[in-house]
Structures are given as structure tokens and as C-alpha cells.
Symmetry: C2
Subunit: 247 residues, 2 copies
């Protein structure tokens, strides 16, 4: 992940200097960025199987770019933890391991309550609207039995909280986890017998956040995160210690 502490000079977030014209920034679409996007979705939707090697020449030819920007795209994905690069051997689609997920969970338990605490002051107005919207999205996804959409909304729910914390590092951290969580969840959805459970879970979380009781929030996050991680590995041997890594 790229935990860059210094943002590019142009990436003003919400500042308006002259007449209040804040027409949101246009972010430059760089080739490596778009390529990384294509590969990311391919990995997340299973087109590129975990463990498979990503041959540069092939992919570059497929996408109609040269190897230089492709290699940079692979680096981006490596930062996100979706790809593992090994010198002189190549780049491989990451295999999510139960251990890796547990590690992420252990950090989330300690940091997400903090993120919520920081986000508190902004949880009333438009911030709250954003969160509620993700819940609605999640519900709609669950209604339709649309796994991908439900997961997307699930990720958005948490991401919005990190965004509202206005803590750059925290948000970067979440971003570095998001792809992996998404990969894990979509591969492991069978552990969610009913998608509506996910929705209920998060509605409950939001209710508790509303109380503003930090203790209770910490407890709930603990339960919440614990549940979504440790509930799974038992059943999904496929993702266990699979790191003989390579192969």
C-alpha cells in the first residue's frame, strides 16, 4: 500500500479559496492506474485465480500497452496486497490466508474504534447520509441476492467511516486492506447464509455508534470484526496456510 504522508500539491480536498467554487478535482487517469483497475476487478471477480502467474508480455499484449506501464500497475496491486511479486520469478495473484485475514482483523479491532471516535463530530449531517446510503445499497444488494453489490456496499460502509475520521494514515490503511478483504469475502461468501444478516449487523453497529459510547463501540467492533473473520476459516480450508507460496 502506499501510505504516502504527503499528498500531491494539487490534491486539495475541501478547500475553496476564491469564490467558493469547489468543483471537485479531476484526477488524471494514468495508464498504470487504469491497467491496475482492470486487473483488480479481474482478480476480485475470480477471472484471475489466486496463485496464478501474471505473465507480463501476455497481459501487456492483451491490454494493448507495453510492459513498462504494466509493470507499474503490478506494483500498485502488489502494494494493495492483491499481487505478490518475486524477483526474477514473476508476479502472482495473492492467495488470501486465514492468518493474513486474522492479522488485519486484529488491527481493525484496535483502530476502527479510533476511526469512529475521530469521525464522531461529522456523523450527524452529510456524513451520516453517506453511511445510511451504503446501508441502503447493502440492503438492496441483499434483496437481490447480489453478492458483489452487497460486498461493495459493505466495504463502502467501513470506508466512509475512515474517510470521515479525516485521518490520512488511517484511511490509507483501510485502503490497503480493502482489496484483500473484498477478495476474501467474495471467495468466502458461503459463510454468510443470508446476506440480510450482514445488513442487520451493520445497522446494529450504526445504532451503537449513535449512542456515542466509546466503550460499547469498541466492544461491538470487537464482536463485529471477530465474527466476520473467525467465523470463516474453520470451514474454508482452501484459504488456510496456503502459502507454500508459490506453487
Amino acid at each position: 500500500m502506499t501510505l504516502s504522508p504527503n499528498r500531491p500539491p494539487g490534491s486539495t480536498v475541501g478547500r475553496r479559496e476564491d469564490g467558493d467554487i469547489s468543483l471537485g478535482r479531476i484526477h488524471q487517469r494514468t495508464t498504470p492506474g487504469t491497467v491496475a483497475g482492470v486487473l483488480r476487478t479481474a482478480i476480485l471477480d475470480g477471472t484471475l485465480a489466486p496463485g496464478s502467474q501474471l505473465r507480463e508480455a501476455h497481459i501487456a499484449a492483451d491490454l494493448g500497452v507495453s510492459r513498462a506501464p504494466l509493470r507499474e500497475a503490478l506494483s500498485i496491486l502488489a502494494d494493495e496486497g492483491l499481487v505478490v511479486k518475486i524477483a526474477y520469478k514473476g508476479a502472482f495473484v495473492a492467495e488470501v490466508s486465514a492468518k493474513g485475514m486474522a492479522e488485519i482483523a486484529s488491527l481493525r479491532k484496535r483502530l476502527e474504534p479510533y476511526a469512529i471516535e475521530l469521525a464522531m463530530p461529522r456523523l450527524s449531517g452529510s456524513g451520516r447520509t453517506k453511511i445510511v446510503r451504503t446501508l441502503q445499497d447493502m440492503a438492496r444488494g441483499a434483496d437481490d441476492g447480489d453478492l458483489a453489490r452487497t460486498i461493495d456496499a459493505h466495504m463502502s460502509f467501513h470506508r466512509v467511516i475512515y474517510e470521515l475520521s479525516e485521518h490520512g494514515l488511517l484511511l490509507d490503511l483501510w485502503r490497503s486492506w480493502e482489496s484483500q478483504l473484498q477478495l476474501f469475502l467474495s471467495a468466502d461468501h458461503q459463510s454468510f447464509p443470508d446476506l440480510h444478516d450482514v445488513v442487520a449487523e451493520h445497522e446494529r453497529l450504526l445504532t451503537i455508534i449513535d449512542t456515542g459510547d466509546l466503550e460499547a463501540i469498541t466492544r461491538e467492533i470487537d464482536r463485529h470484526v471477530h465474527g466476520s473473520i473467525d467465523a470463516a476459516p474453520a470451514g474454508s480450508a482452501a484459504f488456510d496456510g496456503s502459502q507454500p507460496s508459490n506453487a
Copy 2:
């Protein structure tokens, strides 16, 4: 930073599986890796001033490599937060901001106690020796008035703790902070009137860790980290709000 969850097959850190032969792994010295190393020291020792642009062609020629591996080296440093890359504009030596340091501190306060907790079981034998050794190094550096050495040992002290936690993500996180902390500290050393204070501070921390009292440890880390961050910015206007954070 590269928070890769899946490590390359060979990078077992301190594990000895067969007869205790830990001859430490020879890590493949890749060109981008060595180049990144050269640039890293140049940045940390001030040869490359914060904010200055790193022109690819120029540096590549200086080091006798082509731009391809150099660009990758810059990406590595960007991951570490020592360099900021901006599309179509170039790579610049990062400027540490008080805000960035405060963000790191806020996360350390929440994670370092956890790292210590995890490291506990390994804090008796050889693990402890390692820590003590960094303290000795720190002391020697302070005796000689050797700032760089003191800082190195200081970083090692904390790094060893994260290593002993045997929590991959935590260690990765520390690594992603280390360079920036080092950059900050070496630029801001005037806030340490006496290097021996640093040593005393860490000896005290170790003593408290020895008690095994997690509450006390958390309190101490809070004090410790708080002190080493918030003590500084007041005096060092140079690093304050330097983030045109926009603008």
C-alpha cells in the same frame, strides 16, 4: 509502503526449522533495491534536501543505471513515504509535516502496546538480548554525541519489539513509518538537548515492559510517543504545516 500480506517463499524471518541453522538468508540484491538504498541514505543524511525534485535521467546517469530500475527504486521510496511521486511532474523528496508525524504517533499509541503484548512471550531469552543490545548501542551513541547512531539504535529498539510480536502486518506498518520517523528525528534533533535522555527514556520503558502490566505499558507508550512527537513541533516551525497541504 508495501504491506504485502504474503511474503515471498524465502523470507522466513527468524524461524529455524531444522537444526537451528539460522545462517540468515541471502537476500537477492536487486538493482532497484540497491539504488533505493543509496537514495534512502542520501535522503536521510540530508544530501538530498526535502522538497527537491529527483530528476530521473540525472540520477540514473550518476548511478550508472538506466531509468527503468531507477523508477522502480523511486516507487520503493514512495512506498516508504520518503518520496512523493506526482504524475507527469516527477518525484520529490518528502517533507515531513507535523501533521504526518502526529498521525503516525496516534497510531503508534494504539498499536505499540499491542505489539509489546504479542512480543511478551519472547521477551525473556534471546529476544531480550536483542533489545538490550539496542540500548547499549544507543548509550554508546549518546556518549559519543553521535546523533545518527543514537537514532539508528532508537529505531532498532522499537523495530525489535515489532519483530518479536511476530505479527507481519504490524512489522510492515512499523517499517513504513521508520524512514519517516528517522527523517524527522534527524532533522529535529535539536529538541533533544541531551541524547542520554533518549536512552533513559527507553530504559524506563523496558523496565515497565518487564512488569508485564499492560495498563502501565499503554500509559507509558502514550507518554513516550506523545513526548517524542509533541515536544518537537513547537520549536521546529520548519516542519510545521509545511503541507501546503493544499495550496
